[in-house]
């Protein structure tokens, strides 16, 4: 039996008296497409922050490919292949698209400590950065700084940066939120063409996207796991309908 790509065991996070993550044991099988859903305030973002090391859990642990990574910082987890995108764009406002992508590639390959060699002089890095820009339709704005891009392009860059880190496990926090129709199609195409050896956790409110993309779904409510199962199982679960889909119908 192969180890899970990502696993949490009895993960708890309390902020004062509030339990934002309540005893969550989550498993992500190798190569799977797993959606994490739940109403607003269910603790999805806290959970992602615990996975990526932005927050430290009150108790419990996080395992990446069977290895306990609870003690690692954000960058240590990225280097082991646990990469995320942010729900709200987190870019480098004054870096160009090319610089941003080249930076991610160069850090992934461990060149970032080199204070001597010019960043742009490594042909391999520049080639990969350009190729990524190509995939995400950013070739035309390669030399524009991130803050000058349109929102859709910023969103594409946000995801392209995550790809540049060559993830083994990719956490996508509402990747298509607020993206115009045209760019949205690009994002969905790229996500669909992700190699199967990359395991993906998708956090999303858009149920069409969830059901078309995910083979497994975990439902988070009030910080704890309500249920988990295949798309069919989850969508026919009356409890899920009550707390989540039911709520959506009111809207």
């Amino acid at each position: 039996m192969s180890t899970n790509a990502l696993e949490t065991r009895q993960l708890v996070k309390r902020f004062g008296g509030i339990t934002a993550t309540d005893n969550v044991s989550f498993t992500l099988e190798q190569g799977s497409r797993h959606a994490l859903i739940g109403p607003n305030g269910a603790g999805k973002t806290t959970f992602i922050n615990l996975l990526t090391g932005v927050l430290n859990p009150t108790s419990g642990c996080v395992l990446l490919n069977g290895e306990d990574i609870s003690g690692l910082g954000i960058h240590g987890r990225v280097r082991r292949g646990l990469v995320r995108t942010f729900q709200i764009n987190q870019l480098f406002p004054t870096l160009t698209v090319l610089e941003t992508l080249a930076l991610a590639v160069s850090e992934r390959d461990g060149f970032g400590r080199n204070p001597w060699r010019p960043a742009g002089s490594r042909h391999g890095i520049m080639k990969q950065a350009s190729a990524l820009a190509d995939t995400f339709l950013l070739t035309d704005v390669l030399r524009n700084i991130a803050s000058s891009l349109s929102y859709g392009q910023q969103r594409l860059l946000e995801i392209a940066v995550a790809f540049a880190s060559r993830p083994k496990v990719l956490l996508l926090d509402e990747p298509a939120a607020g993206v115009p129709e045209h760019d949205r199609a690009t994002i969905l195409d790229v996500l669909a063409s992700l190699p199967r050896d990359v395991s993906v956790v998708l956090i999303e409110h858009d149920m069409d996207l969830v059901f078309s993309f995910a083979d497994m779904i975990t439902v988070l409510v009030s910080g704890s796991v309500l249920t988990r199962g295949s798309a069919d199982q989850v969508s026919s679960d009356p409890r899920v309908k009550a707390v989540y889909l039911g709520e959506a119908e009111h809207e």
Binding site: T52, V54, G73, I74, H75, G76, V78, R79, V83, R84, F86, I88, N89, Q90, L91, F92, P93, T94, L95, T96, L98, E99, T100, A102, L103, A104, S106, E107, R108, F111, G112, R113, N114, P115, W116, R117, P118, A119, G120, S121, R122, M126, R143, N144, I145, A146, S147, S148, S150, Y151, Q154, V161, A164, S165
Partner: protein
């Protein structure tokens, strides 16, 4: 992000990866002027030497502030350590200036490394407080340790041997200027290499967005420690140059004024393109020199007025237009950058 960076524009972002290692014509012009000054202003070598030294000192601040986003009002700490180290080496070990410089660089670097951990966390305000605190601490130690530093009397009896065993230091500051200028040149060349490297790129990423920087796998703290240490070496070398060229060290090397002036000069000259230090120090020192000759009593008033006008009316417009005229200044950001929909770091 602090205001000083926002108001000073950006480094050569759009061309960074392509042009970073290319020496521009403008740079050649700056160095030509600095070299020509050697012959055209023979009576001014003391002042020129001071400008070169202060420029190096301001460059040390630019490395952390302009590139890594660490604000500091305590660069004088490393300047002071460098100055006292150079003085002590000259008195007790050897009068060779280059050896003194190397020892001072190492000493300042050590102190910089040790104190770098204090500036890793916290806001800009905390960093300002901490850096001021470290400087006062060192200043007070120097004040108390009279047996070593001479306390309030200063470190006396420094004599510096000929440069490279060949060129003696003269009364007019000619050797001093040549020496300081050569070290400044070396400093700029090295700094250019550093900020243009993959390491330098990661610093700019950290300055822009720490959370994202760590999310692409950058060990933020390690990088900040590294650049802070490098910066303290630069400041230490500047201090050592000052000690060697004036053959005297007093407690004022740790003065708060020194750090504050450096910040002022950097803001005048512009952050994040390395030449802000030279331009800022040049403008500041020349104004100081001209005004103190013209109105010895009130020159601070005029200096103050000038600075306020410069910053209020538009340092950007004044200095940058001069810099752009020379083709030196930070490149203008395209107009669309202004209506950026960039999300701010949480």
């Amino acid at each position: 992000m602090h205001p000083a960076i926002q108001m000073t524009g950006r480094s050569r972002n759009t061309s960074f990866l392509v042009e970073q290692s290319r020496s521009g014509l403008a740079e050649l012009a700056v160095w030509t002027i600095l070299l020509l000054a050697m012959f055209l202003a023979p009576g001014r070598h003391q002042l020129l030497s001071e400008i070169a030294i202060v420029a190096l000192f301001v460059l040390s601040l630019d490395l952390i502030m302009g590139y890594a986003g660490i604000v500091s009002l305590g660069q004088a700490a490393f300047f002071g350590v460098g100055a006292y180290s150079a003085g002590l080496v000259a008195i007790y070990v050897t009068s060779d200036p280059v050896i003194g410089l190397l020892v001072s660089a190492a000493a300042a670097g050590l102190v910089g490394f040790a104190t770098s951990f204090l500036v890793l966390r916290g806001s800009d305000l905390t960093r300002l407080m901490v850096t001021i605190g470290v400087t006062s601490l060192l200043g007070e130690i120097a004040n108390k340790a009279t047996g070593i530093t001479g306390g309030a009397d200063g470190l006396q009896g420094i004599s510096i041997g000929p440069l490279l065993g060949l060129i003696p230091f003269d009364l007019y500051g000619t050797t001093a200027y040549g020496y300081s200028l050569a070290i400044l040149f070396l400093g700029i060349v090295l700094a250019r290499r550093i900020v243009g490297s993959s390491f330098g790129l990661s610093l700019r990423a950290i300055r822009d967005n720490q959370l994202r920087a760590s999310a692409v796998g950058i060990p933020v703290n390690a990088r900040l420690v590294a650049i802070y240490t490098i910066s303290s070496v630069y400041a230490g070398v500047a201090g050592a140059l000052m000690a060697q060229t004036t053959q005297f060290v007093s407690l004022d090397v740790f003065d708060f004024h020194r750090s504050a002036d450096a910040l002022l000069m950097l803001v005048i000259g512009g952050t994040g393109y390395l030449y802000g230090g030279i331009i800022g120090a040049g403008v500041f020192k020349l104004i100081q020199s001209v005004l103190s000759d013209a109105t010895p009593q009130y020159w601070h008033f005029w200096l103050g007025l000038l600075l306020v006008v410069l910053v209020q009316v538009g340092r950007t417009r004044v200095i940058r237009s001069i810099a752009n005229l020379l083709g030196l200044g930070p490149r203008q950001i395209s107009p669309q950058a202004n209506d950026a929909k960039m999300s701010q770091p949480r």
